[in-house]
Assembly symmetry: C2
Homo-oligomer: 323 residues x 2
Amino acid sequence: MKCVTCREPAIIDIRRHNANFCAEHFLEQCRRQVVKAIDEFEMIAPGERALVAVSGGKDSLAVWDLLTELGYDADGLYLGLGIGEYSDVSGRHARDFAAARGLKLLEVDLPERFGYDIPTGARAARRAPCSACGLSKRHLFDAVAVEEGYDVLVTGHNLDDEAAVLFGNTLHWHTEYLGRQLPVLAERDGFPRKVKPLVRLTEREMAAYCVVRGIDYLVDECPMAAGNRHLTYKEALNDIEKASPGAKHSFYFGFLARAAERFADEAETDREGLRACPTCGAPTTAETCAFCRLVERAGGARPDPSTATAVPVELGPTRAGAR
Amino acid sequence: MKCVTCREPAIIDIRRHNANFCAEHFLEQCRRQVVKAIDEFEMIAPGERALVAVSGGKDSLAVWDLLTELGYDADGLYLGLGIGEYSDVSGRHARDFAAARGLKLLEVDLPERFGYDIPTGARAARRAPCSACGLSKRHLFDAVAVEEGYDVLVTGHNLDDEAAVLFGNTLHWHTEYLGRQLPVLAERDGFPRKVKPLVRLTEREMAAYCVVRGIDYLVDECPMAAGNRHLTYKEALNDIEKASPGAKHSFYFGFLARAAERFADEAETDREGLRACPTCGAPTTAETCAFCRLVERAGGARPDPSTATAVPVELGPTRAGAR
């Protein structure tokens, strides 16, 4: 197995590209795919300030690393979700990564700031844990990006993630979600611009990227996600990808090229009547935004809009907690 | 396990309906689902003459049986595809079924009439066997239905078939096919009306239906289809159905309700410029229709439009061959 670029021994084969790469040219390949995604979908302009949603897993650390390598001005934001040891370890990975590279990591700790953690909060609010977690993350990433004046919020969603979400939305024909499952969502109505620079790269490639770059990431999947439908969809797509390499790529990019806009009207309608949540100021179509309702039902303190910003953390031997 | 209708011992559980049925009420359930499909999509009006595409497998024999039971005037059409013993046995099943019920079965034998069989014809024409076979079947079923003056052509496609085809078309975003993947295609431009009364019933249910009704069908899958993509899609969907009973139904019917019409324009465009094939008279957008090109490349005799009709077969101890 030889590198397609230099003919030296390869360390990875990428079947959908029908190509093998040595370590050096694999990193180059990853950077090339990120550049291609950023260019094709006009994700980030030169000089813009990016905020990366960082979980401590391979994807978020890889995208932060890749953007930094490519010369982008990118800070990180870590949310403490209170999922026991999983959260402790993931936070440590995020902080160690930032500290080693002198990067700025903001932090918001959910239990400390909003009085609930995902496992007990979800139970109290009678929501599935993944639903309460997704809602909390979306809200806080958006809020911090807007309040701290970032131009763009970056997430580490890779091709496997996007294909699996698209698969779920297609299986159920959730037409209101299909219209906005895009690699870039423009800034509007109080939402920041959101971009996914890893849509041309897979989970496996991101794991390999971290290994080659010496990035120490949290390998475990979230313990609360075990057995959720998303994983069933991923497995089904993996079986198909195995039989037809490139199937996921053509599913996702074919959707973007030939189907997404057919569902755009509904995504539009869904955003009509957005106004500011009276409690926290976030855009919502409801009386009170879903996050504030979750906070209330999850038994925590009401968020105070005047202090609802993330606190930059001075990275060093002792971590200043978010306050 | 008790029948949901009469509380007698059940013979089958249908997880997506969360219901079990005894033999009698299972047959009733199958008839009810066919009636529902026919009514909902206005497939066949009372008094219309239907032609059922019959392969000798469970689905085509079951749909023929169900339509007859429900009082419809339905003849069968069997195509001899020349796939070795598979074709010999499937033809026997079709003929035996028709003979036992005094039903009329038309036959067209591909090797005899057009000088090629699927395995060698596909090779000669450099087409995948399933592609050459599908093309031949579509053409001949359509042609015979139109020429023999039937009001509607019936096929035995079940929910598993439709969901798997939809899945394949969605995975590749074959938008030109998505717009016409409907349980009813209206008669137009020289095509007969085509309907799929089994879309609310699964493969497993059709096998059970045949067993309960004592219908002796060909169990084997076509030997040429082994390993094709369609089967990969079926397996992936089966895994999902197992995890979420009803997933296939909501995938297919959700598509019909909320997505199909978004792709209708392309199906429309695809039919622009249809005219009669100079060789056989079938509607085509090309110089010569794809079937006549296949016949020519497959090394057989050119079809003669003046004789290109199916010959009704007097069913009895000796079978009059199609001529």
